[in-house]
Symmetry: C2
Subunit: 659 residues, 2 copies
């Protein structure tokens, strides 16, 4: 079967597919989001792409105007490839309309290239790098041994001193040098104690240096394959301007053993439990690596570095370290700084020279993923007082700037991932992600992921629903349902009062999908913990929300949040919209940068050392702040003047309408 290589722009991701493959399916396989709400039937017209280069077969279609067709636009779902292609995904096809809407509302969404520039002044100068040398062959007059000959040549040519050598390199060195006619490329890694020679390859391979970075999440694992070569020396791979050659993700296979870190730790204490959990996360990572290699077409042995950023528990489980004491008072992890571990020792399927850099951790509930986020978002460089929040399965908050950093983890609970919510679900196909409730009829308008029949409510849908219920006066500031409404949407169910989002005949699960008072209480508890956490951090340094110059929201979930609604329910503090910045996966962000720059590797260690973690469970003020925040938006109305104003206006309008 003939193959076509498709390169998607602007991400630069590449995939090889069979000739005649559908471009939408190729995009999905490459992990690229293209809108397509009709499921590929050519009826919604949303999956418009531009064929920059190459031959396709595609019918004309009423959803695509002739002038666009002539300019090489096509509907991806009805287009198949006939040659290698370069396909540009226009901005309106790239992301969800809901996100676009937020963007129009002034939200700060950054392009992939912009996002790497949150950190200033770095250049591609990776901690794991290659250098080419040609050695003088030994002679009777110059019979220095092979290894010192190589080390001396590296010093003479590149001025690199104090190189220590991995024993595996020594094992193969003599034969390789001679077979390569004394022309070789070495791979060096910067360690805390100088440079280490980890690999020697024949020929000049300096422009073949790649890394894989992994965000090791409790729920989801993301990976990227990065090009570590300087464009000015090596050119751009296939003429592209991106460093990311492939991207892949998967659920963390440990999910079967528990949704959150606590249940994983509990499982790890069973006989064989720790080993099992390590095995499955490694297999998830190996799966992602396979995908990355396949998509990028990069040979496995050209990957020089593996970088892992994860929370403390995930990091322990990945390494096979017993996480038992993480959840036992006084919550002490085994270690914060882990020396580089060979990938092969962990059974990660990469070359045996590859060292795994583990992002340093700060505390049991302040892990390498957050340190990575602080690195990637550039807070550590700036004067500006910044709040950094990562909302995922857990919620971590960091406050500070270039001089100091304090952090706290609020055991928010995974409500946003669907846990503790009767019809809660992760953000998968069919999950309700946007909700509007008509203030008069109290009827909802739902948007689901993939525009499929609803199967549950994901995090953004949950925030939307509660905000709409609250704004509509359907629930009060305590999150309790009004008993006096003229609608069959609000009713008393098995778990007390509830709101029916979808009737069973409309759903994909043949059940009414409802949001209960208990669900709402869980959400309020979660948002209260997050808000109280931010407040306590600020209090601890004598500052308030008004002093914050920037609020960075990380986490895939954060990306899709409706900022207005999040503020409306008091999940986020009321601040000028421009102060909010959404960076997406913060953990991956820092891991990328660390991979590119040895200076940033050093900064990472400094950040981890600089972060002071407050243990909230030990903080007497936290409980009172938490209780104060158990209200919509907050018991202190003065902290939310805008929300109070809107509520007031809305009640006036409602009263006018009723009268």
């Amino acid at each position: 079967m003939p193959k076509c290589a498709i390169t998607f722009q602007p991400s630069g991701r590449k995939i090889e597919v069979d000739r005649d493959e559908n471009i939408l399916e190729a995009a999905i396989a490459a992990g690229i989001h293209v809108n397509a709400s009709c499921g590929g039937s050519g009826t919604c017209g949303k999956c418009k792409v531009k064929i920059v280069r190459g031959k396709t077969r595609s019918p004309q279609n009423p959803k695509l105007p002739k002038r666009e067709f002539d300019r090489r636009y096509r509907l991806a779902c009805i287009t198949s490839c006939l040659s290698d292609l370069e396909v540009e995904i226009p901005i309106e096809s790239q992301v969800d309309p809901s996100v676009l809407r937020l963007k129009r509302e002034g939200r700060n969404l950054l392009s992939p290239r912009d996002i790497d520039q949150l950190v200033e002044g770095w250049e591609i100068d990776p901690a794991v790098f290659k250098r080419y040398v040609e050695l003088n062959p030994p002679s009777l007059d110059d019979n220095v041994s092979d290894l010192p000959r190589l080390i001396n040549a590296l010093y003479k040519k590149y001025g690199i001193r104090g190189i220590s050598t991995d024993f595996r390199v020594i094992m193969k060195l003599s034969r390789l040098l001679r077979e390569a006619d004394w022309k070789v490329t070495v791979t060096l890694v910067l360690t805390r104690k100088g440079y280490k020679l980890i690999n020697v390859e024949p020929r000049n391979m300096v422009c073949e240096n790649y890394s894989i970075v992994i965000d090791l999440g409790t729920t989801t694992v993301f990976g990227q394959l990065l090009n570590l070569n300087k464009a000015e020396v090596c050119g751009f791979p296939d003429g592209m301007g991106t460093f990311t050659l492939a991207e892949a993700s998967d659920y963390n296979a440990q999910i079967s053993y528990g949704e959150d870190v606590i249940s994983r730790i509990v499982y790890s204490q069973r006989r064989g439990g720790l080993k099992k959990l390590q095995e499955v996360i490694i297999s998830t990572i190996n799966g992602i690596i396979e995908n990355l290699l396949q998509m990028s077409g990069i040979r496995r042995d050209l990957i020089s570095h593996l970088v892992i950023a994860g929370n403390t528990t995930m990091t322990h489980l990945f390494l096979g370290l017993d996480p038992k004491y993480i959840r036992e008072d006084p919550y002490v992890p085994t270690a914060n700084f882990i020396p580089p571990v060979r990938a092969v020792h962990l059974r990660v399927n990469l070359g045996d020279h590859v060292h795994t850099y583990i992002f340093p951790m700060v505390a049991s509930y302040m892990g390498g993923d957050i340190v990575s986020g602080i690195l990637g978002s550039g807070i550590f460089q700036r004067e500006a007082l910044t709040l950094y929040m990562d909302i995922g399965t857990n919620g971590e908050i960091v406050l500070g700037n270039k001089d100091w950093l304090i952090s706290a983890s609020c055991s928010a609970g995974p409500a946003f991932e669907g846990a503790g919510i009767k019809f809660g679900t992760r953000a998968t196909r069919g999950a309700v992600e946007r909700v509007n409730i008509n203030p008069r009829t109290l009827e909802p308008m739902l948007l689901t992921i993939g525009r499929a029949k609803p199967i549950g409510i994901c995090g953004t849908g949950l925030i939307d629903t509660v905000a709409e219920l609250f704004q509509g006066g359907i629930i009060d500031q305590n999150g309790k349902f009004s008993r006096e409404l003229d609608t069959d949407r609000v009713r008393e169910g098995d778990d007390g009062y509830e709101y029916v989002l979808a009737w069973k005949e409309e759903t994909g699960i043949k059940e009414d999908i409802v949001l209960t008072e208990i669900d709402i209480e869980n959400l309020i508890r979660t948002k209260a913990a997050i808000y109280a956490g931010c407040k306590i951090l600020l209090d601890s340094v004598g500052l308030g929300f008004q002093d914050v110059d920037q609020f960075i929201i990380a986490g895939g979930f954060g990306h899709y949040i409706d900022l207005d609604k999040a503020i409306f329910i008091g999940l986020l503090p009321e601040m000028e919209t421009r102060k909010y910045l959404f960076v997406g996966n913060g953990s991956l962000l820092g891991a990328r940068l660390l991979s590119f720059s040895k200076d940033l590797l050093r900064e990472t260690e400094r950040i981890a050392h600089m972060m002071t973690n407050l243990e909230l469970s030990n903080n007497p003020s936290f409980m009172s702040e938490f209780v104060a925040a158990m209200f919509l938006p907050h018991t202190d109305a003065s902290a939310f003047p805008g929300v109070s104003g809107r509520l007031h206006e809305y009640q006036k309008a409602k009263a006018a309408y009723a009268s």
Copy 2:
């Protein structure tokens, strides 16, 4: 079966045996030499020992005077143990009479304690050491992670900074700290780049720190188990004053694949050859380790360090490094400095925290065994100009003092190990080791090892025989037999002229044992190479033998050499006897010291860097010096005035007798 522990003094070696075990057999099992030429029948009376402590059963025997019996002397071969014993081996039973005779002749033989004092100013302060700490358990107010808690405590208590940590320690740390109630002993190792934490044990184990040092010879492998604990802190083990708790040796099992390094390298190039050679040497080492552990009664997990000193080829084979290029012009080894390798990675059967220190090498034919010898003999500390020679399967020579060192390897060939000699043999039971030839009758008087029937001639016997033949005028200065002698001992055999050392009915092999002219030529070639090597080294710095302050002879073989006879044939230069020092196994000597002292570990690296190796095969003067030395004792008679004088006197006496 009840057991008795027998401690032999002065070596302090200990062995556990069944009750009623014969003491001579116990001594043999413990690797202790006790004279016993009658094979244990109680008839030679040579195996006299003193029972210092404990109960034995032993008949009186005519060979043991009553007054000695009353003073608790016994013949070991007819004495059995009834309780734990302390047995002292008197000096006359300890070593061969031949060696004693040499000692009486003013030869410098050193006691084990003296020998460690060749190097001055060191104290027990090993590079691998243990420290005990009691940690404050973590609390909510002090929830530093486990590893930094331990590292901080080590800094506070001992001022040790910059400790890096082995991942295997991190793996077990959390559980171990808690199970040990936060009272633990750490094992630290000094590396080139600071300290590394390699083990943590519960409780205070600081006085349980041991090492094993191995001399990895081409023919024989020696091992010692050493007590690394300071006597003033830990007391002497079992009240002894020695650091050596056990000693064991075995033939290098690679012998089956070739006698010398070249044939081993050739074998390593076969399919699977390298792997096989590595396997067998590791199994030899593991066997020795088993013996050492058993003899000393030290638990395997208490061994903290393994030190290996071997020649370059043996070191390569031990590590599984391809030695191919060692024997190919320009004779380049893979590396001189090998980073520490985990013992378990080499399948050496020790705890998985044990790092193997590999003595650095200087060149393809100047290995870690010689660097170790230079360390152990203290040359690197002294002003005195010293020649150091190690005569084993190869012959290596080093010249220098504390400021400079030059070295050369003379491919002497393994004549002293029996190779190239028709009835040559290693120094095993039945090997002829001492020879006297009656100047009138030309009849020989032989002494064999173990006083058994002769089976061949070992190195010392070879030197003796040639010296006696030469002195007796049976061979001339070219090593050729006189054709005019009235004896059936000299005859023409299959390989030309030969001297019959033993008639077949007297031997253990039912053949006449002879020394042929070809044998003699091989010996002369060997001694010429060694002498010429020394000469070239001296020449290269503009010095002569008269400038040498000390000549140190290392190697097990050197130990038993008859100095007079070695000078007589021109193997060794004619110098005052007091300048010669015999240190025995030089390789083991340095390995011991390195194990005891981190300062000496640093000195080792300095020594290896300081040594300049001359490649003799590349040296135009070497061949002419070699040819000049192919004569008994040398073509330059003025270099051997004493020998010339003796020859002259002897010829006069003979002429007088004949007339």
